[in-house]
Amino acid sequence: MDVMPKWAEVILVPLISLLLAAILSALVILAIGEDPMAAVKLMVTGALGSTYGWGYTLYYATNFMFTGLAVSIAFHARLFNIGGEGQAALGGLGVALACLYIPWPHWSLALIGAAVAAGLFGAAWAAIPAYLQAKRGSHIVITTIMFNFIAASLLNYVLVNVLRPQGSMDPATARFPEAVHLPTLHEMLAPFGIAFSKSAPANVSLLVAIAACVFLWFLIWRTRLGYEIRSFGHSESAAKYAGIAPVKIIMITMMISGALAGMMAINNVMGEAERLVLNSVEGAGFIGIAVALMGRSHPLGVFIAAILFGFLYQGGAELALWTTIPRELIVVIQALVILFTGALDNMVRMPLERVFLALRKRKEV
């Protein structure tokens, strides 16, 4: 029997963690001599006060949904995939190759093709650490970290030596053809008479990300594979006893995880930059960790957390533009969220459990 009721577990604990992170962030802003309330106000108007702000918020949120889901599914099998950064980078390579070398007749077909390529590349990059964990017992956290760095070197090599157009100094691929241009929210909403900012990068991949959330929910809680993944995560020995093959579960989970991280590239590479540049992921793979922790590895939680982080990202950019607070404030907030919702979870949970235990005892008397 659980000590805490479910609502406390699902809502109260994350909320208190988040509150602690927010208070500390406010103290940080105070310490560098700025006004926290003014900063929050600026962030809200900058990120949510216009369709332009929303466009950026949703664009970042799309990235974080993919990487957050990637970390989440791995968490369900008690695997910590810290390699989202590398997998997303490889996904970008897949998107670039698909867009540059296949003559797509229409963007919708290109989107499907690019998503498949991104997923395959990301899954392949996750498959090697997964195999080493499953068969060789090498720690997946260490190998995925190593693979992030190997991916960075690989992309550096490919962009400088292979995909860079002749005569260009910039380590980036050529621009993708016009046919693979993904419709932005501006173009999608115009037929309905809704005026959405033209220069914001949010695009149709937002819908793909939302579909991925639904798909993952269905996979984890409504399929046999999802059941196997969850039982493996709860107890490896029990899962083995029930006839679940650990090697298979580790491989499949990590490949789904890698594919999700890789598919982020349809948003940032295909939807926004429309070419592959160096360091295109920009840390979104790591933010996936914070998003998954905050969302308690539930797709709905990930969806909400991704939008919150999208807001923080766009708000942080506005702060850097209008005040002397650098963008790195967001990195600090992100660190505090990871610290409180992840590592210091018990610090919040233990006193709460004590409170609920005391309440229950009083009721029994």
Binding site: E328, A335, I338
Partner: protein, 323 residues
């Protein structure tokens, strides 16, 4: 002779680049031998690099800077200890959080204090660790072979380099020849046994995490006050992770940590001198390949193709006294 001098210069920069790796690697060794995984080496180095440079710039005294760097690193160690030992949280997640905390806070504070776009002013004079010329280095320079070796390679480093190299035998002695070391290793293999013997698991693990903080602090101070003259954003540049790779490569042993970090330092030195490789093996090697090599080699070692790397058995597991 000319070739010999080039080789010496290459080895000289190998030593220079290996030093922060070695210090961080030994830091990780203490922590992981006591059963606390630490992927926050990078963050601790970065925080120490900033605070050393900042305080050295303000006071003009590099030793005060070094102390500040060690202090900053110790604060992050304490957070890691509280999260992973006291509250039995996930050590890996705590490490990730510490890396981000350092990456963000250093720039934020640097901007608030110095307003130079997230960097510290350049350090001059006593604000830096200057190279030390060992006794007779100049007098003996004329001696063939050994003279230049002594002058170019062994002499002329900052004090922290010698500290790092001395830390290797010291660590070996502490871990394998003292009672404290035996207990520290035992707490990483079987904490229940240590607890049964009446020794505090929590105390030992905090001690290990503390030593780890001090060594990361020195490593960070070396980056910003000896290797370079001042702090720039993200200056640790993944060295904490290379040190982690070296630790696995060394299979959690002090002398092997020295060899591994020297090897990875050599890769770093070669990356800046592609002409030397071309001369030596007659073909061009891509810089990106050299940059990726430490990671690739570590993955191969981890995969168990070349001897198996077995981490301390209780690594990453919080110790619960009563179940």
């Amino acid at each position: 002779m000319d070739m010999y001098l080039t080789l010496l210069q290459l080895l000289d920069s190998t030593v220079r680049l290996a030093t922060p790796l070695l210090l961080a690697c030994l830091a990780g060794l203490y922590s992981e031998r006591a059963g606390i995984f630490d992927i926050g080496l990078e963050g601790k180095m970065l925080a120490a690099a900033f605070f050393s440079a900042a305080i050295a710039a303000i006071t003009g005294n590099v030793w005060v800077g070094l102390m500040a760097g060690i202090g900053a690193s110790l604060v992050l160690s304490a957070i890691h200890g509280i999260a992973s030992i006291t509250f039995r949280g996930n050590q890996l997640i705590s490490g990730v959080a510490i890396n981000f905390l350092a990456a963000g806070l250093t720039v934020l504070i640097a901007q608030a204090w110095f307003k130079q776009g997230g960097r510290t002013p350049s350090l001059i004079g006593n604000g830096r660790f200057e190279p030390i010329t060992l006794p007779f280095a100049e007098a003996l320079q004329g001696v063939p072979i050994l003279g230049p070796l002594y002058y170019e390679l062994i002499s002329g480093h900052s004090i922290l380099v010698y500290v790092a190299f001395a830390a290797v035998p010291f660590t070996w002695w502490l871990l394998f020849r003292t009672r404290f070391g035996l207990r520290l290793r035992a707490v990483g293999e079987n904490p229940a046994a240590v607890d049964t013997a009446g020794v505090s698991v929590v105390g030992l693990r905090f001690a290990a995490v503390g030593i780890c903080g001090i060594l990361c602090g020195i490593a960070g101070a070396y980056l910003s006050t000896a290797l370079q003259a001042g702090f720039v954003k993200d200056m640790s540049a993944g060295r904490g992770f290379i040190a982690l790779a070296a630790l696995i490569f060394a299979k959690w042993r002090p002398w092997h940590a020295l060899y591994a970090t020297l090897l990875f330092g050599l890769f770093g030195a070669l990356e800046t001198r592609p002409d030397i490789i071309e001369q030596l093996i007659g073909m061009k090697v891509q810089g990106q390949l050299l940059a990726a090599l430490p990671y690739v080699m570590t993955v191969i070692i981890l995969a168990g193709f070349v001897g198996k790397a077995i981490p301390p058995r209780a690594g990453g597991e919080p110790y619960v006294k009563e179940r």
